[in-house]
Subunit: 232 residues, 2 copies
């Protein structure tokens, strides 16, 4: 058993909901669909995630731009809205702000000399635009998109992109995500996972219990360096 | 292109929500958790399906009994109920009645000389108990459980169990399901799909649009023989 205080050799981050904040989608949806903003935003995200899982299970890849656009149309239909009224939401996932604490955490890891990366379901283009727009791109060393494997998380092939990029075994890698199903998948892959558990999971999914791994550790931004054995 | 009226050579059915009715779960949940029956029942099914997808994506198989038991605990926790009060629900998926029209449809197919089967996420034991309890077991010729491949729908390996059992290519097989994501997966696999679309999908999922196949045809029990080219 590796003692929990042994330092990780790299820290990778999920992007959507973790480094960047999805909450502004509510106001953006409200502007196009008055009275339905919260429902459309929540449905949009839930269907985006659901479609990414189903497409992977069916081996029917489409880029995340397509998945995201289709998910908005489905969410609009769910509440009886014409998706054409939501044209202004095109590209909204690329205009999300950094979550409070994210930039500070990345700077702290840089000061500690720890390599960092973003591992996201987004396309390479989406990740680039989103992370630049949020002012985070220059704070991370590596970026990996699912584009390279044409499968979505929590497929192990996606997590393997991070271990390959870092040249590390999974147990030496810290992984940070706010999405419960991503935390479960990363833990199943063998990462040391910090789950920035939101007050309420935007997606219906929480962690799959008992996937044969320790439960991901629930943590806050400030706790990450200590959790990953990088400070005391 | 195969003309739509060419007859299929076998018809396979999904079990939970399709041949058997999930609605009685609401009353069963209400008995154990007064005031929360509908929420617990809907959450139970949604988390059962979600966990089956995630476990398949993560390659962390567990039998459907385990998935179902864990899903009930998660659904109970979601509404703040102690799952111990729901002990009476153990095995509830094996005590579901046939949906109205299911037995008649199976008898009609038998009269037409068309081989039938059940292809379900349930374990072999669950399928046997459920289909016997609902009075349907003797009306179908074949039964296949995901146990054989240790993956859940909509993984193509599951649908392949039906083509192998029937000794037919997918395009000769009719597939009937009430679950939108199952209809999409079966269509992606190449089956001729009839989607017994419920008034409201119990699960959050609907069909993934544009998976590169024609949309599954929405149908009722009575329409199946004609839809599958078996009558006029």
């Amino acid at each position: 058993m590796r003692p929990p205080t042994e330092p990780v050799a790299a820290v990778w981050f999920d992007l959507y909901g973790t480094l960047v904040d999805l909450d502004p989608l509510v106001d953006a949806c409200e502007a196009g669909a008055p009275g339905h903003g919260a429902d459309v935003a929540e449905g949009w995200r839930a269907r985006q995630v659901e479609a990414s899982w189903l497409r992977t299970l069916m081996d029917r890849w489409a880029p995340f731009e397509t998945v995201t656009r289709e998910a908005l149309a489905a969410a609009a239909a769910d509440v009886g809205i014409d998706v054409a009224t939501l044209d202004a939401l095109d590209g909204a996932f690329e205009r999300l702000p950094a979550r409070q604490g994210a930039a500070e955490c990345l700077r702290a890891l840089r000061d500690l000399g720890v390599p960092t990366g973003i591992l996201s379901n987004g396309s390479a283009t989406m990740i680039e635009r989103t992370s630049r727009g949020a002012g985070l791109r220059d704070l991370v060393d590596e970026v990996r998109s699912v584009d390279a494997v044409r499968r979505y998380k929590p497929d192990p092939a996606v997590y393997r992109l991070a271990t390959e990029a870092s040249g590390l075994e999974a147990a030496r890698v810290g992984f940070v995500t706010a999405n419960g199903w991503d935390a479960a998948g990363a833990a199943a892959f063998g990462f040391r996972v910090a789950w920035l558990r939101p007050a309420r999971d935007v997606v219906v999914a929480a962690v799959v219990p008992a996937v044969g791994v320790p439960d991901p550790v629930v943590a806050t931004w400030n706790e990450l360096p200590r959790l990953f054995g990088l400070s005391h």
